[in-house]
Symmetry: D5
Subunit: 130 residues, 10 copies
């Protein structure tokens, strides 16, 4: 069962100057179950975000905890759109980032490949539209 | 014969916050007939859209019904441009989405590959131009 | 000899609503002759345009006639730049489209590959720059 | 020794209407020498520009002369940045184009691949950033 | 240990006219250590910047010194985010460039590939978002 | 319904000397129906063979008739293995070739891609195993 | 738990003449668990075999049952080598094929990608060594 | 009209020792006409051969003359199989090589790509089957 | 310092029947030092082998220990050829396999990429020559 | 001028056991001059060989000296076939290897790409035919 308590964070590294940075984690091995047929779905989850700065108490998600969190969907019967929104919501709650983008890309089912993209905050234009 | 009654929808999943999301379905195995020669045409249909939110009664197209709808073109003699517009129109009527984009990409005929792109509503710039 | 009388058109398909559409034809097998050396040139011609709507008497170029028109350059000694402009001009005259873009991409000669791009009307930014 | 006198030009082809066009020449086989070690450098030179129109006395660089000009760098000890600027300057002087862009892309040296991009005039945004 | 004293610079080449240029160095063979497990991390570092012009005392980083500087991270236990910021900061201090962008791309760890991007100054939009 | 009467042949071209030749036709746009679910299957059919020589009354399959023959499977409910064997048998009967190989490659169904290969006569080793 | 009772078979299709055929099924979405860490493993399973002919009572594995059988490894803690051997053994028992080959290809773990190949019977040389 | 008198040769370079060598020329820009429809065909011609040694009066085909010879097919209405055999025969007569292989690969016509391969003499196994 | 004591093994899994199997581990992130210049070398190590069967006391190398063993070359100044032989020798001593093959593939140094391949025992032909 | 005195060698590393090894060096940046036109030719040189064992006084070519040797062809007017044979002969004389193979692959000239392959000694079949 998706378990957001698995998510751990660490303080944003301090930066000289003012420029925010962008972090991208691409998890190529995501799997959950189709809630209708029970068959497994396989996809790739791309997370991009800009953390709040250290001075503002900003945090980043810890990589291994992110992996464990993703694995907690393994036995969950859940639609593509719900997976994507749930990951977005859990990560937004954990990090309160400046902006965040979650895109899931699913291997074909019945000859149709699907991508679901959702966002939080003001995603810079050059990171959108895949 | 293309049959839009095959299209089924489900309510847009609820989202925390305000960010709309984008759904893309790429059907790699589309076929119809050339209305002039009767020979089969083979193509790929890419659908992208943002559903209206749940609170506004928004709906999403159900994936298997979309597949069945696409299959209903199999014996239809129809031009590239008409296929693309008809799919757009039927999906707009079914879902009343915020915006929607249909792009068909056709394998070569006589050494010429073709792409037809049409839209509904205000498609964000970063999703256009393929 | 390039023969624009080969170009045939058909009325733009009617569309529900107001959104214009984009048509792309990529001819991978174009050949003409170098006017200086007489050696054959080989290239690819990409045409993109938005036809005027049906209500405004708009027309689209017919695919097979486009192929025959391109074949009429086979024995013509003509520079890259002139090929590209001539195709643009002939198609603009035939269709009076909203906008139109012709890009020719030529295989290497003397280790240099070339691309020539020209336009008519107000080409949307997301379709430019290849 | 780089020899800009090798560059020859021809008048810009006349165009119906008003739309400027874009010319791209990609030379895949460029070589010069490292001024420090004397070892050869290998790269690719991409030139893009819009010539002034015929009516304004505009000219285009002739393809074979461009090739000979590039070959004149073969025995020159010269840094990446200087190669790129020198090609830009020589071509700007020869053609006085509306805008021009020269990008050199160098194969790895010590595990580092390099790209140098420079411009003249007002390069349209969709042709920049490679 | 990362050693910024290894970085050497040379004056920006003089340019005719006014157009700034862009320099990109892609180091495909970067390695450091995970500060938690001590296991090696492998990545690619992409540096892009526009140097201040020669007339303003601008300098460029010397390629071999950049390589030696990158090698100085080999035995350092350091997080992805910190590597990226540290490289940015050291290069900004060495060159005081008009703008600068550092992107690190890391091979998978636990099935997750990561990219960290940071900037200094006003990076032109067409060079952002990878 | 598969219709082998559509297959037409022409005499093997005469050859100087003794070396047999090999003919390969790859049809990228094959479709039939799953006999169980009625859903369309999409695949690619690769035919390779050596015709008997002209002196022995050998014939080759005519390309357009081969295309029409393949199209006659469009509405047929038939298993992958049966398609492949039926094509092999029909072509062997039409041409009596020295050897012949038919390989069908099917796009994924339920996450499994399939290939079926069958042969007639003594296929040279270097043309086998795909 | 791997469950070979899920495997169903159907009689080998009859063939004119004598040539055996080869069947390949590539399952791109296989997952099991590492028996040591409990973390999921992701891989691709390639099955190739030649069934005994119909006249000898030969059978082929049914595609959907193969998919269900592969899914039965989802919660199994099992080593790469054991997965591969178990699949081989179960399929050999179900079909008694002329020859059979099972190759599993696993995504990286700790920077190391692995492939395990095993066989039954006399696999033709041109189908071996991947 | 195909004109074998265009083919010129030069003596095989002398070699120390005894090992024969292999020469491959891939012409990516071949075009002829379909004898039935008159439409152009586009293909690629791969020639491989081992010349007789210098001591035995062996010769190699001169590269520019080979190009001119291929160009002489430009206006010829001729089948794929005949093109391939004619090139083989003309080159065998010109060079009397130890062995020779001609493979033509044709872009799709009606959704079918074709390859024709023919040989002369004893082609080593590792150069066959493409 | 390369440390073969890091290598751990486990007993070959039992197999029904008689067919040996093949195990391949590709380590994409290998690094050592050039013994002459001290600069790092980066490469990929491919190991393939057939273990002795369980009944004969055969063993397989444990994956994590293999990774640690490879990491022990990180600070070693050693030539490409010596790395490859040393890995071969250490693995042969640890496992006494039926056959074993080690291939190292090195990224370019001075524009030259290198591959070193060595073997032990009777490597089947279809696994050789990369 | 090609200068074989640049070639330096080092003794073959000692090997436990009896298995010979294979060394491959791919030089991607080779250039010489066309002896007829004086224009530069660009190619890639692949060298593969098995050195005689240490016990037999065997030697390997040193990588940097190989690079310098290749660079000595930069100003040489020489045919493809002669380059390939000369490299073979010089390396055979320097190393007296068990077997050796030199393959040069040249970028297109007049639309024709060429490959020249020559050998010395008994090259194992799995390393031939590119």
């Amino acid at each position: 069962m998706p378990d957001k308590s698995l998510l751990e964070t660490f303080p944003t590294p301090e930066q000289a100057g003012d420029a925010p940075f962008v972090i991208e984690h691409v998890a190529e091995e995501f799997t959950s179950l189709c809630p209708v047929t029970g068959h497994p779905d396989f996809g790739e989850v791309t997370l991009r975000y800009t953390p709040r700065p250290a001075a503002a108490g900003g945090v980043c998600v810890e990589l291994k905890s992110l992996k464990m969190y993703y694995q907690s969907f393994r036995d969950e019967g859940i639609f593509y759109e719900a997976v994507t929104n749930e990951i977005r919501n859990d990560l937004v709650r954990s990090m309160q980032p400046v902006w965040l983008q979650v895109t899931t890309s699913w291997r074909g089912r019945g000859g149709i490949r699907s991508v679901i993209a959702c966002e939080h905050g003001d995603v810079p234009g050059h990171w959108r539209g895949r």
